[in-house]
């Protein structure tokens, strides 16, 4: 076991600010939905819109980051060991079985994570962004000017956006719970905060160079 620098600065910033924005959007969003009354409808709408623009900007940065750093490759789905991973969460975890996959800076995500997050990025996020934008700009102009998206009923947009929000909530619950399945209950969360995680030793050749790079980077 050794400490490995696994989550870089931007990655951690991206993760936590995205988490905060999504939670805030959920809070204001469900108030707009009519689920409860907290800030008042007007403020809820205003803050929801501001937060949505912030999230869009953040997503734009993160896409740029993923492609320039090559981190996008982490999300390439694989079915090798996918079954083992599922078996681990459903059976092995109760028997104190070892993790079927080994985490490293080059392979941060287990096959199940890669699949889930890819779905998040390719399905969940685009649906929320698209319906959110349609909602934001719904009938921007008066009948005498050009009408934008007048043919899509608002209720369809709202329904899809709401359904997405429910899915996101379920995702967050499971996601947060899954962080407790590391070596200790808080290992994963600590790693996402500090960047360093206590990991099992891997094949020496593949990690040494990378680790060295990471340590250098941290010193800078």
């Amino acid at each position: 076991m050794k400490q490995v620098y696994i989550y870089k600065k931007f990655e951690r910033f991206w993760h936590w600010s995205q988490a905060a924005l999504i939670l805030f959007l959920a809070l204001t969003g469900f108030e707009i939905h009519g689920s409860f009354s907290l800030l008042g409808f007007e403020k809820a709408v205003l803050f929801h819109r501001i937060a949505s623009y912030m999230l869009l900007a953040l997503i734009a940065f993160s896409i740029f980051w993923h492609f320039t750093t090559g981190e996008w490759k982490q999300y390439i789905p694989t079915i090798s060991k996918l079954k083992d991973q599922i078996q681990y969460y459903t059976v092995g975890i109760f028997k104190n079985a070892p993790h079927p996959t080994i985490k490293s800076a080059n392979k941060k995500l287990n096959p199940l994570q890669a699949m889930t997050y890819l779905g998040f990025k390719l399905l969940m996020a685009p649906v929320m962004i698209l319906t959110g934008l349609l909602y934001l700009y719904y009938k921007t102009f008066d009948v005498n000017d050009i009408i934008v998206v007048s043919d899509i009923p608002l209720e369809w947009i709202a329904w899809a956006h709401t359904l997405g929000a429910w899915l996101l909530m379920a995702f967050i619950i499971v996601h947060v719970y899954m962080t407790t399945t590391g070596h200790s209950v808080t290992t994963n969360i600590k790693a996402m905060i500090t960047g360093w995680e206590l990991l099992e030793d891997e094949d020496e050749n593949s990690t040494e160079k990378n680790e060295g790079d990471n340590q250098k980077e941290e010193k800078q």
Partner: protein
């Protein structure tokens, strides 16, 4: 050391950003400010009519005054005689009816029902002299009443049941020398008191507007910008801008708030976007009848009860409003009323004399519009409900003759005999009457346009965007965020959410238990 400096700089920047983010100073709405400046300058007369020789004479009849007016304003009578104020009808293309003439001559209402055969009394609000019957000559310019609109002496009043002639006590000479641009009372003389008393019909037009504060009406407030009716209801060529949907049916020559306020009056873009679906009035007139009560219901079916000595009587509520009149029936009044809300595209369908009743309650002036229609907006509306006389055999609303000077002339208000009144009334308008009558429920719609409240009293988001009991609770043909939801999606969402919570709870519990068991085993 460097770190300390960096952190303090960062914290300062963050603090500044937060202060900027949370500090909000309401900016000046410049266009609103400009309007106030524009209307602060009040109209002044360009001539003094008291100096004109022709107005120095001793006028014998009101027609003489009109002739004197026309010596200088020698084309104005033509304009008047093309106006609906004069003709009591208007030629329009009406969907389903084709080119038709609609107006007081042939539409009914659910207040005093109709003017036909009652002209002697009803013509008090006609801008002419001598409309005692339906034989009035609409081509005689001498009968145009200039004074009723242009009197500035506040002396001119029309006589009661005098077919539109002025009261005998009016000093025509003084009135003729004191004419000018109409004031509130010139319009209000008819429009405030229509239906037989102050604020009976409109609910948002009444004598309190003559001297009110900004809470009642921001435009007409004496302590505000103090505007006159004609500041908005401009009257180029005597064709007055604005439509009253008790008698109007088409979406032309309407007067809209945006003509002054533009279609983007708010500084907030989200509010401005409401413009395409929500009329200004909806939010900015949260209540009407703010000072005096307005009539909400009129049941003609209750009319005709007489006291022990066989005379008509009346009853009043605590505010002095008639709740019962033998001649008219039973009334309901209300003050500070929340409007009802309807989609409206500026077109209306009227029940005109002779039309067949197809649905109950009869909508005497159905406002057209729907959420689907791009030209419709949500408007606040006063709905006046009641019942009135109806012929079940011909399926027509009956125009009764209610007014006559004395008994024995079939008038209901004198003889209290519905059958005679119906017979005389229907004969007068040339329609059949089967001899049978009953009372049928009717509704009449009054879009609310006046009594605009100060901005801070306007409706707020939650008044409509709320799950239950919002202002728009009854308008459910569209999706309103905050009010509407898809029950299936919410059910699915709740199952997902609580299912996930339960799932992770059970999973976690199982891990804990297994962990303990393992420890026990190991210790053994």
């Amino acid at each position: 050391m460097n770190k300390t400096i960096t952190y303090s700089v960062l914290i300062t920047i963050l603090a500044l950003l937060l202060v900027n983010f949370f500090h909000y100073e309401k900016p000046l709405n410049l266009s609103q400010y400009e309007l106030k400046q524009e209307f602060a300058i009040k109209h002044t007369a360009s001539v003094d009519h008291s100096k004109f020789d022709i107005l120095q004479q001793n006028f014998k009849t009101p027609q003489d005054v009109t002739e004197a007016c026309l010596t200088c304003h020698n084309q104005r009578h033509e304009e008047i005689m093309h106006s609906s104020h004069w003709n009591w009808d208007r030629v329009d293309y009406v969907e389903g009816k084709g080119i038709s003439k609609l107006g007081k001559k042939n539409v009914l209402n659910n207040f005093c029902i109709g003017a036909s055969t009652n002209e002697q009394a009803c013509a008090k609000c006609h801008i002419g002299f001598g409309m005692s019957h339906n034989t009035f000559d609409f081509n005689n310019a001498r009968n145009v009443d200039c004074m009723v609109c242009h009197d500035k002496s506040e002396e001119y009043i029309k006589g009661t049941s005098m077919a539109g002639y002025p009261d005998r006590n009016v000093n025509l000479n003084r009135v003729a020398q004191n004419v000018g641009r109409p004031d509130k009372i010139n319009c209000g003389a008819c429009h405030f008191y229509s239906g037989g008393g102050n604020n009976v019909k409109h609910g948002d037009l009444e004598e309190a507007l003559l001297a009110c504060d900004r809470n009642v009406d921001v435009h007409m407030a004496a302590n505000g910008i103090n505007m006159d009716c004609v500041d908005c209801h401009s009257a180029d060529k005597h064709q007055i801008k604005g439509k009253l949907y008790s008698v109007s049916s088409t979406n032309v020559n309407r007067l809209r708030c945006e003509e002054c306020h533009t279609n983007k009056p708010h500084l907030d873009d989200v509010l401005n976007r409401h413009f395409s679906k929500v009329s200004c009035q909806t939010c900015h007139i949260p209540i009407y009848a703010k000072e005096n009560s307005t009539k909400m219901a009129w049941h003609w079916s209750e009319a005709g009860k007489l006291d022990e000595s066989g005379n008509p009587y009346h009853e009043e509520d605590s505010l002095g409003n008639h709740t019962y009149l033998s001649i008219k029936g039973e009334f309901e009044w209300a003050k500070n009323v929340e409007p009802e809300y309807m989609w409206f595209n500026g077109n209306a369908q009227h029940y005109a004399l002779g039309d067949t009743v197809t649905s109950v309650p009869v909508q005497v002036n159905k406002l057209l519009g729907s959420a689907e229609d791009v030209h419709s907006k949500i408007y606040p509306v006063k709905v006046h409900r009641g019942d009135q006389i109806y012929d079940p055999n011909t399926k027509m609303l009956i125009q009764p003759k209610v007014y006559a000077e004395a008994k024995g002339d079939s008038a209901y208000w004198k003889d209290f005999d519905w059958k005679l009144a119906a017979e005389a009334g229907m004969k007068g308008v040339g329609l059949p009457f089967s001899g049978e009558f009953e009372f049928i429920e009717t509704e009449m719609y009054w879009p609310i346009n006046h009594m605009v409240s100060p901005a801070d009293q306007a409706l707020s988001c939650e008044d409509c965007h709320v799950r239950e009991n919002g202002r728009l609770a009854a308008l459910n043909d569209f999706y309103l965020p905050g009010r509407d939801k898809n029950d299936w999606i919410d059910l699915l969402g709740n199952i997902l959410l609580w299912g996930s919570l339960a799932g992770v709870f059970i999973h976690g519990l199982a891990r804990l238990i297994n962990g303990f068991k393992r420890k026990e085993l190991e210790s053994k």
